[in-house]
Amino acid sequence: MSSTHITTGGYQHAHHYKSAGDEFEASKQGMWLFMVTEVLMFGGLFVAYTMFRAMYPEMFHEASKHLAVNLGLTNTIILITSSLTMVLAVIASQKGQKGRILLHLGLTFLLSCGFLVVKYFEYSGKIHHGILPGGLFTNTEITHPKAPLFFSLYYVMTGIHAFHVIVGMGLMVWLAVRTMRNEFSPAFYTPVELVGFYWHFVDMVWIFLFPLMYLVG
């Protein structure tokens, strides 16, 4: 992979900023605020989780045993690795190395695909055993009457997380297109950096989800 140095140089910041630096700082602040919003949104789910777990600790213990720890662990490793490749993509964008940006975005994209494939097997396995959320739950092996609630939380929390992964994949495609159009340079790499923030956040949510869901058993 050749690392061609992109020399657009002519990046023009928006009219209402004094400099490209100001614009970059503003964008970063905006992204941080958006991350705060995301934290509050997942926060709501974690509060629900905490409340039900405090009410039915044995149920969480029992139900959690029916989650596939090895698949969850695989996904944890996949996501952590993808965070690394994302960092490399950001570094490449700061240096204006077009080829490397594309390479690392591509790797991150592939790893996310891997994550979703594992997720698919996990979900279909559960569904096959009648382990569905709440009122749709038909499994008979799990005896605790409140167990469907655990799986409701499991599906909702991992599902919304998976949705964030899919959005992230879309953003990577978008970044790749813009990279190919030579829109990024050491003078302007804001979108890559911000998607990087986003991706680390998605990763971090999973770092919380994995032990709370899979390892309480």
Binding site: H15, H16, L33, F34, M41, G135, L136, L149
Partner: protein
């Protein structure tokens, strides 16, 4: 100022032409106006629903519509007024127009995101409204479970519409915070920020912190209906009281999204029309943040009779009491500003004084509801209805009207017609008090809210309230028609018809595409009304 001659030239209204130049505009002023028109359109719809509610309640028994229709009507009235009118009214409509100009900025931090917020709002609003044609929803705007899980109709459309509009609110808040941080004019230090900016800042913080919790709550509610997740459904082991906690964790702070911005407007209007500095600048600015902060820890006062437990009630009642302290500070400071001033009673000032009267009642009755024992009897009665209408209509809408009249010359380059504006004010003030004051009494007597029918004992006060609603409607129509006529008949407004000191008045009316002809530099705070006191002023710009 020296720009008057240039004001004939290019401005944001004639900068580009055609429908598309509006629909695709990135100009915060145009986006502000588009918000304003959409909000007013929805206000008309929500208002018609309100009139329908009052007509049905004019007499006991079924007057006009059957209970099922009635339940949908009050659901729509509430949802439209809260999500589509009051939440975006001042922050998104007036805020978009005024906030960047007050900061001396050329635009908001993220103009494209700003336009996207508008379209997200419109899309969400249309989505929610579409439910009207698919069976409607009869959950009430609070969507309490398990009723909202069981009832039929297009509940999901309304919930999903509110969910979408939440994102618009989040993105607007985010945009404003970054704008305030990054795009202030040279010399505009934090201590010199106009109070409208402080109020918008506090509002934006609530928007980005509270709205995501509403988003997840509404999403879970949709999952309840689609996948039976059961988190809020006692049949599946979930907890309906948890829903109330989640819902009010957003919706109580949301009340402050509705009231802080009008407080900001009032803080601008009163000094300008009293020709005096705002009294207690710092106290008003801090109290906005005090209110925003406490807003997050008082949600449980909506649940005093829900069975959340005695300890929770104790804590939430205590914390709720604290809200009244910064609120009182604001009210006293506004009145103090008028002391030894030189007061002009133009329409914006009249609306500001109307705000004071109504908001004082709204605030004082809020203390009743914060008091544990008192709330037990009054909650879910018409007392609560009266209270929050005094705050939201009396406060937020009076603030909106004050702001619309105050900035009308800046927005349009024309003065509004003063006489019509004053007449409409008196209709609105009288109509409002006649409509809602009787509701305090009928509520204290025990009439529950969301009732399609009521006992004959409550007849006279309900009839009075219904008649009042017609006065109120006449007032609103009068104000709207007057402003519309002002567009044609109004005198030409100068750059600064009120002789105000905030930055937006330094620009021509209407302002040019990039807001200012010369980049403003700020030299003092925006309440430097020294000339009127016979002192030598420092020019604020």
């Amino acid at each position: 100022m020296a720009h008057t001659a240039v004001a004939h030239g290019d401005n944001y209204l004639n900068h580009s032409h055609g429908m598309m130049s509006w629909l695709k505009t990135l100009d915060h002023k145009r986006i502000g106006l588009m918000y304003l028109f959409t909000v007013l359109g929805y206000f008309l719809i929500g208002g018609l629903f309100a009139l329908l509610i009052r007509l049905e309640l004019m007499f006991p028994g079924q007057t006009l519509i059957d209970p099922n229709t009635y339940n949908k009507v009050f659901t729509y009235h509430g949802a439209i007024m809260v999500f589509m009118v009051i939440i975006p009214a001042i922050p998104a409509a007036l805020g978009n127009f005024v906030l960047p100009m007050m900061l001396g900025a050329k635009d908001v931090a993220f103009p494209r995101l700003n336009l996207a917020s508008y379209y997200i709002y419109v899309f969400g609003a249309l989505f929610a409204t579409s439910a009207l044609f698919f069976g409607g929803a009869d959950t009430g705007w609070t969507f309490y479970t398990p009723y909202s899980i069981r009832t039929s109709g297009a509940v999901i459309s309304v919930i999903f519409g509110a969910f979408i509009m939440g994102f618009s609110s989040i993105l607007t808040g985010l945009n404003f915070i970054v704008t305030i941080h990054k795009l202030r004019a040279p010399g505009l230090s934090w201590a010199r920020l106009p109070l409208f900016i402080w109020a918008s800042y506090a509002t934006s913080i609530i928007q980005i912190l509270a709205t995501p919790v509403l988003a997840i709550t509404l999403l879970l509610l949709i999952f309840e209906r689609v996948f039976q997740v059961g988190i809020f459904d006692p049949k599946i082991g979930g907890d309906p009281v948890l829903f109330q906690h989640f819902f009010w964790f957003y919706s109580h702070p949301a009340v402050y999204i509705m009231i802080l911005p009008p407080m900001g407007v009032i803080s601008e209007v009163i000094p300008v029309f009293s020709r005096k500095p705002i009294f207690g600048y710092k106290a008003i600015a801090y109290s906005s943040f005090g209110i925003a902060l406490i807003a997050f820890v008082v949600w449980g006062h909506h649940l005093f009779v829900s069975g959340q437990g005695e300890l929770a009630n104790f804590v939430f009642s205590l914390l709720t009491m604290l809200v009244a302290v910064p609120t009182g500070v604001k009210v006293f400071s506004w009145v103090g500003t008028m002391y030894k001033g030189s007061i002009r009673l133009n329409a914006p000032m009249l609306y500001a004084l109307g705000f004071l009267q109504l908001f004082t009642i709204g605030g004082l009755t809020g203390v009743f509801l914060a008091t544990l024992a008192i709330d037990v009897h009054l909650t879910d009665t018409y007392f609560v209805i009266a209270h929050f209408h005094y705050v939201m209509v009396g406060g937020a809408l009076m603030g909106l009207l004050a702001g619309m009249h105050y900035w009308f010359p800046k927005m349009t380059g024309k003065m509004y017609l003063e006489k019509g504006a004053r007449i409409s004010f008196w209709w609105i003030l009288a109509g409002f008090n006649i409509t809602f004051f009787p509701q305090f009494i009928v509520g204290a007597q025990g009439m529950p809210r969301r009732y399609h029918d009521y006992l004959p004992e409550f007849s006279t006060l309900n009839l009075l309230s219904t008649v009042g609603s017609w006065f109120l409607a006449i007032g609103f129509f009068w104000a709207a028609i007057n402003l519309w006529r002002s567009l044609k008949l109004g005198e030409k407004a100068g750059d600064n018809p009120w002789n105000a000191l905030t930055l937006e008045w330094q620009s021509p009316s209407p302002p040019p595409h990039e807001n200012f002809l010369v980049e403003p530099v700020v030299t003092t705070w925006p309440y430097e009304y020294k000339a009127e006191a016979g002192l030598t002023p420092v020019r604020p710009w």
